[in-house]
Symmetry: C3
Subunit: 313 residues, 3 copies
Amino acid sequence: MTSKPPFDRGNWPIAAAMIPFPSTLPDGTLVQEQGVEGWAATLAEVVDAGFTELDPTDSWLRVADLTPSRRREFFALTKSLGLTIPAISTSRRSVIDPEHGEAYLAYCHRVIDTAVEAGAGAVCFGLFGPFSDAQKQSLWFWTAPGVKNPDDPEMWKLAVARLRDLGRHAAEVGLELSLEMYEDTYLGTADDAVRFVREIDLPNVGICADIGNLIRLHRPVEHWRTMIEKVAPYMKYWHVKNYLRMEDPRTGTIVTHPISMELGWINYREAIKIALAHGFKSAFLVEHYGGDGLTACATNREYIRRILPRRAG
Amino acid sequence: MTSKPPFDRGNWPIAAAMIPFPSTLPDGTLVQEQGVEGWAATLAEVVDAGFTELDPTDSWLRVADLTPSRRREFFALTKSLGLTIPAISTSRRSVIDPEHGEAYLAYCHRVIDTAVEAGAGAVCFGLFGPFSDAQKQSLWFWTAPGVKNPDDPEMWKLAVARLRDLGRHAAEVGLELSLEMYEDTYLGTADDAVRFVREIDLPNVGICADIGNLIRLHRPVEHWRTMIEKVAPYMKYWHVKNYLRMEDPRTGTIVTHPISMELGWINYREAIKIALAHGFKSAFLVEHYGGDGLTACATNREYIRRILPRRAG
Amino acid sequence: MTSKPPFDRGNWPIAAAMIPFPSTLPDGTLVQEQGVEGWAATLAEVVDAGFTELDPTDSWLRVADLTPSRRREFFALTKSLGLTIPAISTSRRSVIDPEHGEAYLAYCHRVIDTAVEAGAGAVCFGLFGPFSDAQKQSLWFWTAPGVKNPDDPEMWKLAVARLRDLGRHAAEVGLELSLEMYEDTYLGTADDAVRFVREIDLPNVGICADIGNLIRLHRPVEHWRTMIEKVAPYMKYWHVKNYLRMEDPRTGTIVTHPISMELGWINYREAIKIALAHGFKSAFLVEHYGGDGLTACATNREYIRRILPRRAG
């Protein structure tokens, strides 16, 4: 069905997510306003954990909103640390956000330009909104209801139009655009995600199969395998993470917990095999919520390296 | 109480289970009808995960049902991959199955002959039946009710008679026969398992102390320690796996999840110590359901090697 | 805020807890009455798991209650095994125990003298009582109600007075005294622990921030981060362990399970960073309940070594 993958277990780009690091320091300083030394201290931890690739996720730092000179300083720093940037992901910057949709659209265009500057091959956007109060008050945010994309065909079309616009921009500068699967958005199920990217209908726009977002929900969910099988032909830059998932049929109890990729419900050995069989050739982003996310991300990186094919085509 | 164990942490046979691999491929091909190259691709993953021993469990491939020439091809393949076969386990081939009991009895005799051909030292049989519909529809099959052995002394005697018959056959060809502990069968508790093998009363027939099958149940269970203490004098070829087990006394909630052997409820350091003190000297089969079973099995293998005695008698 | 820490990831003292080992052997022998060879067999496992530091926790062996010659034998043994003893912890020897409080107070004085003999730098005491029957009958003891410190200002003052007395003794011989956070005791919350040690008001007396004891409870708990922030200025010898913690806001279900430090709810990378920023410079004790505690403790030790600062001041 496909040609051989372009990378192997030794060199496949596997980026650290910055989601374990907050945008505000304990003393109230914003990472956005930190000096280079401050960024360096944080990124030194990422390097110390064995990473050679980084996604400067904007829940930590909005690189695209730095001044040009500060942005050059950031990229000089990552280069000096031996970190390459295969992709930049945004989080909670929906282009149809009721309040900030247009501003986020403009921001996403800037992220694309910044990704080019970073030497990246992909950007990743999603339609999920800010945390609800209930989510903020929960031990794990996914156990409480969050913002939902409206059940409104006009809004769906607006989302398609704006993301197609971003997709064209990305294509012009040689980037792929990966759209994140996330509950209660227009990419909230495998079927919806496929329908959405087929409507955008651009070869460089695909699905970020972050099904960890879905299998952690305290509600009935589709089997990870059928989800991956449905989205595999459309997969681009891939956020990966895993969860324990327990269901008690007697009582309807459902509980979930973050765990290392190899021990959670999703069998990533199989999921990656299915993706590769459909020609997946993008980078991975290893994620983990809860506990020491950076350490778990490093464990996830090593796991992926162990199960990827031995030798590139 | 016993002589020193015949192996040490460096050379104790620890076989990969094939339960992470299905009997039907995504394209509908049966593993039973696959060519040698297909088997080779699957077993290459097992070797890549660091295994040098294999149990060709029949949930993946019924080696005993291959033609003699195909069987020779299979064994030539495993040999070429550096895999030895310490034992062959069957799954869901109960000799008292209401429909197929006699056919499965004949099949189990063929498995014994095949084990000899494989150079194995053991076979492992059980009295558990096919998955119920409720089990097929559950996230984890052990959370739903399955087939039960009938509460019928005549059927119990028939099971004893047929397995004793198989035990004699195994003895004639120098094999041990290990009978798997499994809920709602005549080996569904430690006491029942002991009573059952004592009734068979053959020195080469013992208990496969797969207590992971029991401690994962969403119902009250006996403590792993008393179970192991009861069955230790009768233990043969040993299927090992572990589970998280949570109980909330306030509400009666019970939930379980597969986890690596070192982190689950059963303390295998202690369980193995108890078994060795009673003369356990058979091979291990590392198992794991859920997620990437093969990777978890490899982790389990390394764990066992770390805690086994340093030097053989 | 503080000077550089005195150790780095290579040499920070990280002691094995003896809580995975019982005080009574399977054959009924008390560890307290075992010969040196018996102790040696147990400690050989600790060494085999890679430990170079030991806390001879008294749930295993009351070193302070050995005769002087037996005590010398014990220390000669640990020395011969390459084990140093940075601290001695007691468990369930509350100096305000309704029955044994005075005897335990005398015992704790002996523990201090023994710690000096051991070359230790710290002792660790707590106000938690013996297991209740409900705890003994639970799968995990922390899911059932235990003994509570009385809501009685006079008793609180007695606890302060007796522990201040022990603190002065410790100071005289150059030891720090760390008081263990434990639910339903006078150190049952971060605020209560701070209030308690501030009342004692001795520079060598601080808090053992064993917040794993608290986050495992099947009841609402304070966030680990605010607990650590509150107690950080007072932290001494530190018992560390971690748990999975799941809450379902819909039903109020709470379940927890022991897990390796890097995968549980507490982010120890952050917790240690906060502690170091406040000048924490004591040893760690790695703990783990459930499953193979010693193996999990060894995993925890390696994890801490990976995330501690690279080079000492």
